[in-house]
């Protein structure tokens, strides 16, 4: 299981540019948002919590289509099915590696991005905390979508059609937590919801993805 995690991570860093590209993506997205809204500080401040969460899920989505497809196409997945570790654990390891290259950079970059978007200083801690709790759910839910579309060529658009609706509860809970703390309210109920979603996904996603992969490879 750990060897699959490190292998995926190494592959992501060598070919995909790894976390670096995700960081540039976030900076670009924030810049585009600023251009799109005319750079009004008040406008940016009010949309910042939602926008940062939307960026997190978009960056997660962009690298998702190759999560299993690359291994299915070159025959690696056939070999991984015979591994001594159960397929569910393989899925979990790959989702964890995916999180390190997309979710983790977002958490690290969050303070800078929040500053660029003029977020309420009081909400900085909650932004980082909510991303830390919520982004693993994004990778896990994404793994289900990636497994369902593993055999579909050029399935990027289909994948976003399947996965984005599934992201709605996570997005709502995460963005609400940040908005609540920016407005000076208690954010803990939303954070509890977010944790429940992440834990639920950790329990559900490996089984759903493994079932989908077994069907795809049969």
């Amino acid at each position: 299981m750990t060897s699959i995690f490190w292998r995926d991570l190494a592959l992501a860093f060598r070919i995909g540019g790894g976390a670096g590209q995700a960081l540039v993506f976030f900076l670009l997205a924030v810049t585009l948002l600023a251009f799109g809204t005319g750079g009004e500080p008040d406008v940016l401040r009010s949309v910042a919590p939602g926008a940062l969460w939307v960026f997190a899920l978009l960056s997660c989505l962009l690298s998702l289509d190759r999560l299993f497809q690359a291994d299915v196409e070159d025959g690696s997945m056939d070999g991984l099915m015979l591994a001594s570790t159960p397929l569910e654990a393989v899925v979990l390891a790959k989702a964890a590696a995916h999180w390190v290259t997309t979710g983790l950079p977002m958490i690290l970059a969050a303070p800078i991005l929040a500053a660029l978007l003029n977020l309420e200083p009081a909400a900085y801690g909650m932004l980082i905390l909510s991303l830390a709790i919520g982004t693993p759910a994004l990778s896990l839910i994404g793994a289900i979508g990636a497994a369902l579309t593993a055999s579909v060529r050029r399935g990027g658009m289909l994948l976003s059609l399947l996965v984005l609706p599934l992201y709605i509860p996570t997005l709502v809970a995460g963005a609400m937590a940040v908005r609540a703390s920016a407005a000076g309210f208690e954010a803990w109920p939303y954070l509890g919801m977010l944790s429940a979603i992440t834990l639920g996904c950790a329990a559900l996603a490996p089984f759903a993805s493994a079932a989908a992969l077994r069907i795809t490879l049969s």
């Binding site: 592959l11 070159d74 690696s76 070999g79 099915m81 015979l82």
Partner: protein, 232 residues
């Protein structure tokens, strides 16, 4: 150890690929699958590896533990005894040749002495001079040898080989045949679908017939949509 197939059948994509095939293979033996294209050699190997569910019959493995293992009940235990080579070599171009092999040594074998096994396999398949080079620069033959080298780093008694010698030269075929021979001498077994003669003395043959064309009435119940009935 004895692997047995009892009247197994396979349906893929709504199409019957083969019907009621039975065979048994013991430790030290090689079974060569022969038959025309489309006879179901690849499907049979994928069924045996537990990737494709059987449409009928059963596959059992006896001699590993006290009780007899059944592929549909103890799939994961049985899969952990298998190493399978298909048409694809599972080579990651972004990794070096050695890194590729090291990964499979961990996935299909134990962690200890993985390095030694990798080094031995690279030497055996004549890949040690490019071991530190990226797999992206390998030729088709080198990629195939890298794919096959996964077998010799694996600690698995049962090998399932689908056209293992494609794009290999004569010298490499001989190296591969030696590897299979050594594997069987150590008590392993191998089932291989191949058109060429590997020159293995102990090999038995199983010939698969091409599936007959047209609707087979006696097997119509396989696909519920082929069943004759009240079609209005």
């Amino acid at each position: 150890m004895k692997l047995e197939a009892h009247a197994i059948s396979c349906i893929r994509g709504g199409r019957r690929v083969f019907s009621r095939i039975s065979f048994a293979i013991e430790a030290g033996e090689v079974l060569i699958l022969r038959g025309p294209n489309g006879a179901g050699k690849s499907s049979l190997l994928r069924c045996l590896s537990g990737l494709v569910p059987l449409a009928g019959g059963s596959v059992t493995l006896s001699g590993l533990s006290e009780e007899v293992l059944d592929l549909s009940d103890d799939r994961e235990t049985m899969q952990s005894q298998l190493a399978a080579i298909g048409h694809l070599d599972a080579v990651k171009p972004g990794f070096t040749v050695a890194e590729n092999l090291r990964f499979w040594a961990r996935i299909w074998g134990e962690n200890d002495n993985a390095e030694a096994r990798v080094a031995a396999a690279l030497t055996r398949f004549g890949l040690d001079h490019i071991a530190q080079g990226l797999a992206a620069h390998c030729s088709a033959g080198q990629k195939r040898r890298l794919g096959l080298a996964r077998l010799s780093v694996a600690a698995r008694p049962i090998w399932l080989l689908d056209e293992p010698t494609v794009s290999l030269d004569a010298a490499s075929v001989a190296v591969f045949a030696d590897l299979v021979r050594a594997h069987c001498a150590k008590g392993g077994m191998a089932i291989a679908a191949t058109h060429i003669d590997l020159g293995l003395e102990a090999a038995r043959e199983l010939v698969l017939e091409a599936a007959p064309r047209g609707v087979q009435m006696d097997e119509a119940s396989d696909d519920p949509f082929l069943d004759e009935g009240a079609w209005i």
